[in-house]
């Protein structure tokens, strides 16, 4: 009897198959290596590569004015046509990508990071929460335009302004979103469980609350990155954005739209790039969200 007891009570570890259970968990990286994630990465990669290799690929300088080529349509010589001051739109698009990469992949993440940190930390205590939320209200209440004008007063127009404006615009968005998630997640028993074993606020925030609040933030990040190009364009529209003659996707699209009736081709190239970039971003964010849900 006692023999058999030992035999049958042996823990499940004794099962031989278990030794092989060492596969890597399908994580974020796997999600990016197939399906949607891969397609998104390729799109983003292509746009980034075009931007980085711009100087090598561009047939003309970004500000080079080609005599006589005034707003001519797409052709072998000018793939995307030329603009109203005789510049090659294709070349400008390539250089324009570089500007937007900076905005999309630097300004938005910076704003998002600060916003998330702010939202995380402030929402932990009631007092800071109230203060932070009201501050976010205030910042959100100022339309982008006014923020931009206000900021130009201090730093002057240009890429820097665009950068600051986007950081300032994204900060409260992420702050508020983080706070909402935090309020739900912090009620979860597993956060309490960490609290019980003595984990401090920071630990709970970093290890439990943040990772479990990421879904909406990931979506917002993709959306914000997409919208950044547009904010950049709108600012250029008001003369607060990237200064001419420096190209940017937003200002190229804006110029294209200005010439919509005469040169409908103008905006197509830059728009295609933006759509590719946005599609890439959304696909990647979708893939990541799916991977996190799985």
């Amino acid at each position: 009897m006692s023999e058999s007891l030992i035999d049958v009570a042996a823990p499940e570890a004794s099962h031989p198959d278990d030794q092989f259970d060492t596969r890597r968990r399908p994580g974020i990286w796997t999600a990016l290596r197939r399906g949607k994630g891969l397609a998104g990465l390729i799109l983003i990669g292509a746009v980034v590569a075009l931007g980085l290799l711009g100087p090598l690929l561009a047939p003309h300088g970004p500000t080079e004015q080609i005599p006589g080529a005034n707003l001519v349509g797409p052709s072998g010589a000018h793939w995307f046509g030329t603009d109203e001051v005789n510049r090659d739109i294709f070349s400008r698009t390539l250089y324009g990508i570089r500007t937007d990469l900076l905005v999309v992949f630097l300004a938005v993440p910076i704003g998002a990071t600060i916003g998330i940190l702010f939202g995380l930390i402030s929402s932990w205590w009631t007092f800071t929460d109230v203060v932070a939320q009201r501050v976010f209200d205030l910042v959100l209440a100022f339309p982008t335009l006014i923020l931009a004008i206000g900021l130009t007063a201090f730093v002057g127009p240009g890429l820097r302004t665009v950068f600051f404006v986007i950081v300032a615009v994204e900060l409260p968005v992420f702050g508020r979103l983080t706070r909402t998630s935090v309020r739900t997640v912090r009620e979860m028993p597993y956060v309490e469980a960490a609290h019980v074993v003595g984990a401090g606020s920071l630990w709970q925030l970093r290890r439990h609350v943040l990772p479990n609040s990421l879904e909406p933030l990931l979506v917002q990040l993709a959306v914000s990155m997409s919208v950044a190009v547009f904010i950049e364009g709108a600012l250029s529209f008001l003369g607060l954005g990237v200064r001419p003659p420096q190209p940017s996707l937003g200002s190229l699209i804006r110029d294209g739209v200005r010439n919509m009736y005469d040169a409908p081709f103008f905006a197509v190239g830059p728009l295609a790039v933006v759509v590719a970039l946005v599609l890439g971003l959304l696909l990647v964010s979708q893939a990541l969200a799916e991977a996190r849900r799985a």
Partner: protein, 319 residues
């Protein structure tokens, strides 16, 4: 809910007080001044001095601020430098248009987001998802000034079925059918971006909800997926969507500036742009203050809706 609002009121008032000062100072910190835009480049220095004292801008800043506060306390919002009328009337006129436009857009965005995300989740069909996802991308990627002009080109110029812009000549109430036609293009244009972003959020949130154990319970009871999504998952996913909508509202108001310009919609967007470029301090100040009030209110509202949607927030405590 009453006491809940009451509890929030003091902080809201503090925000308004701080905002009023912040706005007052900020507006004056921005370079350029109302006198030079009013007087134009060719005015003589005397002319400018005359205008300056006319507007009371020669007074010390603190005096001006106190004066303004005093006015506000009496419900007097001042007179516009440039346009000349009572700020109150100007804002009221513009506000009606803007409210109609943004409310319609918000409604459209919410409906589109609800329909699209529920469709995506309920059908869960590859092609439907791909189509929705692509539509989404376009809506997010295309700037308002592109979609606006394309819409006008399509529906007003090439196929002239809708007005290219402007507000209904007889107001919104006289002929609702006509008003709707005037409203359609700008509202759609404004709603696109917000609607698309919201769709993304809601779809993700719904997908997450569908993995919750209570959904398994519901499925085990034989409740069809469609119904689970509509009556249970949606309700759980909505609070975060409402927050996003509250945040999106800012973007929406920002977009309104552009949309109002493209569609010649005489609302607050155009007014604020004009007021800023003309450094029309009284008008800018009131508009910004209004914006802050609206935002504080919107945030209050989202919190209330939150509490209304989620009993755990409303009733408190965890089991």
């Amino acid at each position: 809910m009453g006491h809940y609002l009451l509890r929030r009121l003091p902080s809201a008032l503090v925000v308004l007080a701080i905002a009023s000062f912040g706005i007052f100072a900020l507006v004056r910190m921005v370079p350029g001044d109302p006198v030079s835009t009013l007087a134009g480049p060719d005015a003589s220095p005397e002319a400018r001095a005359a205008i300056r004292s006319d507007l009371g801008l020669d007074q010390p800043l603190v005096t001006q601020y106190v004066h303004w506060l005093g006015q506000l306390a009496h419900g007097d919002f001042g007179t516009s430098y440039r346009i000349g009328g009572q700020v109150k009337d100007l804002v009221a006129d513009g506000a009606v248009n803007t409210i109609v436009l943004t409310a319609t857009a918000l409604l459209l965005a919410a409906i589109v987001a609800l329909v699209c995300s529920v469709l995506a989740v309920v059908l869960d069909n590859r092609w439907v998802n791909a189509a929705l996802s692509f539509g989404n991308t376009l809506a997010i990627a295309l700037p308002t000034f592109v979609t606006g002009l394309v819409l006008i080109l399509l529906f007003a110029v090439v196929f002239p079925v809708l007005p290219a812009g402007g507000t209904p000549p007889d107001g919104f109430l006289a002929r609702p059918d006509i008003a709707a036609q005037y409203l359609l293009l700008p509202a759609v244009c404004l709603a696109l971006g917000a609607g698309a972003a919201l769709t993304r959020f809601l779809t993700e949130a719904l997908r997450t909800e569908l993995r919750q154990p209570y959904v398994t319970t519901a499925r085990a009871l034989g409740i069809p997926r469609r119904r689970i999504v509509l009556t249970q998952a949606l309700r759980n996913a909505l609070p975060s969507a409402v927050t996003v909508l509250g945040i999106q509202f800012g973007t929406l108001l920002g977009g309104a500036v552009l949309v109002e310009a493209i569609f010649t919609w005489p609302g607050l967007g155009g007014l604020i742009e004009e007021a800023i470029s003309g450094r029309d301090y009284p008008l800018v100040q009131v508009l910004l203050l209004l914006s802050v009030v609206v935002f504080v209110a919107i945030q209050l509202l989202t919190d209330v809706i939150h509490a209304w949607l989620d009993p755990r927030v409303r009733i408190g405590g965890t089991a």
